[in-house]
């Protein structure tokens, strides 16, 4: 915790409440993250890990609470918030008719510059697959192509939803190295995972402590 203690808070959630389909998923969720820190979300299926990540990305709106970046509420300038984050969800967002390189160049270009595409491909071991149409990729390769977006363009915040699903051990280790390098450069990572992803000096958020059923229990 030495990295986050004593330094300024960059990204903070205050008393977030989330409701899905008329049912409260979690209530009163707080965290604060300094530059270079990581937050690991743990909890059973349905405990709201994915919902929280979608709230942090701005895809979903919390029914209560606020989210702040550098002291200013995120809801004041959602476009600036979108520009500073990378979100990797359950779906890979690859167009099967295009090559891996073209897919990546599109997403990087949309965020300003496609200059980092080569580096992104190399970092996730996809250099040889750059000219391969995405329809021929295996599930793990698709996952890596999706993760390569992280390295292909810059962002101050990574939101990763179960990033290790379908990855082999070597790729999981590669993702761990990518996260470590990114945090060393001051990036913030929020990751939901059940898997064996090794993250040094990470804060852990146990989603079950924010479950609404506990709040009202005697």
């Amino acid at each position: 915790m030495t990295a986050s203690e004593g330094t300024s808070t960059q990204f903070q959630a205050r008393a977030l409440d989330c409701e899905r389909g008329g049912r409260l998923v979690f209530v009163g969720l707080d965290f604060s993250l300094a530059p270079g820190s990581a937050l690991v979300l743990r909890g059973a299926n349905g405990s709201g890990k994915s919902s929280l990540l979608r709230i942090l990305a701005g895809l979903l709106h919390p029914v209560g609470g606020t989210l702040e970046w550098a002291g200013a509420p995120v809801s004041e300038d959602p476009e600036a918030h979108r520009a500073r984050l990378h979100y990797v969800g359950h779906l890979d967002a690859l167009k099967t008719a295009l090559t891996v390189g073209e897919n990546l160049a599109f997403w990087a270009g949309l965020r300003g510059s496609a200059a980092g595409v080569g580096a992104g491909l190399d970092q996730f071991g996809l250099g040889e697959l750059a000219d391969m149409p995405a329809r021929y990729l295996s599930a793990g390769q698709r996952r890596r192509a999706s993760l390569a977006r992280l390295a292909a363009s810059k962002a101050a915040l990574w939101l990763l939803d179960e990033p290790t699903v379908t990855l082999d051990a070597a790729s999981v280790a590669g993702l761990g190295r990518a996260m470590a390098a990114y945090r060393a450069a001051g990036g913030i990572v929020v990751v939901a995972t059940h898997g064996a992803l090794e993250i040094a000096e990470a804060q852990t958020l146990d989603m079950s402590t924010f479950s609404p059923s506990l709040e009202f229990a005697p």
Binding site: G58, E79, G89, A93, K95, A97, L110, G112
Partner: protein
């Protein structure tokens, strides 16, 4: 704005790589119009009288047919989430997708319409006006269809629902599109219908991106 053009380019590349799928609307248009001389009979006078309506109705249906996939594939493969998270406002994303749809679907319909107008015995005056009216009217079809496609994203049997939502809204374009061509054929002039088509286009251009983006945000919640 570079992001806007990147999405348009990306969509056009996808429709080129998509093979036969992107030609379905064009083939549908040709086949539908070609059926009329067979069904109505070979009297040139009758065909000439119904020609503007036949071509416009076929164009309307062809444009709608291809609309269903506009956001559905992006929704299913996760692309829509990432587009919503891109720095570009979602309204511009919707507009870019509609522009790409117009370029890849409606423009080929306009290009092939001179050939089809021969099949239904349209006069030369009518043909020139048909092309002008289609240039003004079909962008409105793409924009309105975009709202329908955004509203039916994630719905099962979305295609049928889309037709019910969108076809009534296509009626003004149909009426004034046909009116412009008939005005040119009969010699009464087409200025008024053309101006109304232009007005419909401008109205749709301003309003539909906001409606489409709002519908997509709901679908992503």
């Amino acid at each position: 704005m570079t992001g806007f053009y990147r999405i348009v380019g990306h969509e056009l590349r996808l429709s080129v790589r998509g093979g036969i799928g992107s030609l379905v609307a064009l083939i549908f248009f040709v086949v539908t119009v070609a059926l009329f001389p067979l069904g109505v009979g070979p009297e040139l006078e009758v065909l000439g009288r119904i020609a503007p309506g036949v071509v416009w109705v076929a164009a309307l249906l062809a444009a709608m047919l291809s609309m269903e996939r506009l956001f559905q594939t992006d929704y299913e493969d996760g692309t829509l989430e990432l587009l919503a998270l891109s720095p570009l406002p979602l309204e511009l994303v919707v507009l870019a997708k509609c522009l790409a749809h117009w370029l890849s679907t409606a423009l080929p319909l306009i290009i092939i319409s001179p050939v089809l107008s021969l099949l239904v015995n349209m006069s030369a005056d009518g043909l020139v006006m048909l092309i002008a009216a289609m240039f003004l009217g079909t962008p409105t079809l793409s924009l309105i269809g975009g709202v329908g496609a955004a509203l039916t994203v994630g719905a099962r049997r979305g295609g049928v629902l889309l037709a019910l939502l969108v076809l009534p809204l296509y009626i003004p374009v149909l009426i004034f599109g046909v009116g412009a061509v008939e005005g040119a054929i009969s010699g009464y002039g087409s200025t008024a219908p053309l101006m109304i088509l232009g007005g419909l286009f401008l109205g749709a251009l301003v309003l539909t991106p906001f409606a489409g983006a709002a519908a997509l945000r709901l679908a992503l919640e």
